[in-house]
Amino acid sequence: MTVAWGSLGVVALVSLVAGVALIVLVSFALVGLSARARPGEVGGAGTGAAGTRVAGARGMSPAAGTAVAVVCLLAAALIVGYGLWVLIA
């Protein structure tokens, strides 16, 4: 009777890294997309999540924000795709 600690460790590590990475990547993508929103409209675009007025997202230009969002979402899609490929293959 042996507990497969190695396999359990792999599950824990993969889950932690992949799960947190995906969430952070999507979060950064949304920060990037926020740069496209017009600032100054209270309660809508330009209003921070904490209710503060923001000028874009951390001073990013809309083009830079879009690029950040695309890169982050592509990376997230790659992680998901690789996970599914490993499962099926």
Partner: protein, 379 residues
């Protein structure tokens, strides 16, 4: 009773269990998406049903664990498996009525273990496999999912704190559609395999398949269809519990909880660990609730769930053992077990109709009891 007849009865009962597994566990994938409004309830259960079906075809590692590891297939008969399934179905229906997200998997394992112990003694159960492949992962996985969701939720709020609120909310809601779909896919991959494993085990014990065989295609397809149909029916009581009674879930939390659940379930399925998707998803929802600053988590609800989790395996084992004892009396005993099981299911359904929960009122939650207010997290 003729062997072919009992095999047909067991396969049908296994598919009934799979159906209850589906509607019992719809909440795992869709509770937070329904609660945050990312998906309309009926759309959510339809998406979950289809993806459960797809997921059933992706892997058979967990099915092999069930069919060739937990119990000694040379010492049990299809009648024993039938009795175990009855125990699992009874517990699933009871916890559904109470709106408790208990583990269908542990109900299944408990039922099979109890029935095997009564019918063939302690030697028929491979307790080492049960411990290493079921119990240990069951203890670790909800905490792991909770930690991943907690860290993910904290980082999601930190990262997007100065981003545009409208974009963030809309973005995470869209993300939730994808992440909840992934949970449904993962659920089909893990849970549909358990029924496949049971049917395969039945076919092995009846001599239809050789020992250590994998599930045939018709077994995979029928198990996938049964869990998909059950998922589409929607276990609205448990969806309400997980979506509204645990914490006031926002879309970043829902996304984080579902992403954490998917990562844990898929990684475990790939390595053949038959963990409880219910416990993983519930752990992730609590983690996501605790990860948001000033979020309220109703730990009293967590206590109720913990009690149900602890009781699930032994309770299903007791029912399975009782059913096996009655069924050991021959054809009449098996018929009695079947009749009592059907009567119990009908009674549960009748009681549930007194206060029905459905897609139209799933998000309407009665006021929380004063003794169980949400506990605000300071972190």
């Amino acid at each position: 009773m003729d062997l072919s007849v009992i095999v047909v009865v067991v396969v049908a009962t296994a598919l009934v269990f799979d159906f209850t597994n589906g509607f019992h566990d719809t909440a795992n994938a869709m509770a937070t998406s329904i609660a945050t409004g990312a998906l309309r309830p009926r759309v959510a259960v339809a998406v979950a049903g289809v993806l459960n079906l797809v997921g059933a075809f992706l892997s058979v590692e967990v099915a092999k664990t069930i069919s060739s590891g937990m119990v000694d297939e040379t010492r049990i008969t299809p009648v024993v498996i039938f009795a175990g399934l009855v125990g699992a179905i009874v517990w699933n229906l009871l916890t559904w009525l109470l709106g408790l997200p208990s583990s269908s998997s542990h109900a299944l394992f408990g039922g099979l273990i109890g029935a095997s112990l009564v019918a063939a003694g302690t030697g028929a159960v491979h307790f080492g496999v049960v411990l290493t492949k079921v119990v240990v992962p069951a203890l670790i996985s909800p905490f792991l999912a909770g930690v991943v969701a907690l860290i993910g939720t904290y980082l999601a709020y930190r990262t997007t704190a100065r981003a545009d609120k409208g974009v963030v909310t809309k973005g995470f809601r869209t993300g939730q559609i994808l992440s909840s779909s992934m949970v449904a896919l993962a659920h089909g991959t893990n849970d549909a395999q358990k029924t496949m494993g049971v049917i395969t085990l039945t076919l092995i014990t009846a001599g239809v398949l050789a020992p250590n065989s994998g599930p045939p295609f018709w077994v995979i397809a029928s198990a996938g269809l049964a869990i998909a149909l059950g998922t589409y029916i929607g276990g609205w009581r448990i969806i309400r519990t997980l979506g509204k009674r645990v914490s006031d879930i926002e879309s970043p939390q829902g996304f984080a909880a579902e992403t954490a659940s998917t990562a844990v379930i898929l990684a475990s399925s790939h390595l053949g660990f038959a963990l409880s998707t219910t416990q993983v998803c519930t752990g992730a929802i609590f983690g996501a609730g605790a990860g948001r600053r000033l979020a309220g988590v109703r730990w009293g609800v967590a206590g109720q769930m913990a009690i149900a989790w602890v009781l699930t395996l032994p309770a299903a084992a007791v029912v399975g053992a009782a059913a096996a004892w009655v069924a050991s009396g021959g054809t009449l005993g098996t018929v009695i077990v079947a009749v009592v099981g059907v009567a119990f299911a009908a009674g549960i359904y009748a009681v549930s109709r007194r206060r029905p929960v459905h897609s139209g009122n799933v998000n309407d939650v009665p006021a929380a009891a004063p003794a169980d207010p949400p506990v605000r997290m300071a972190a």
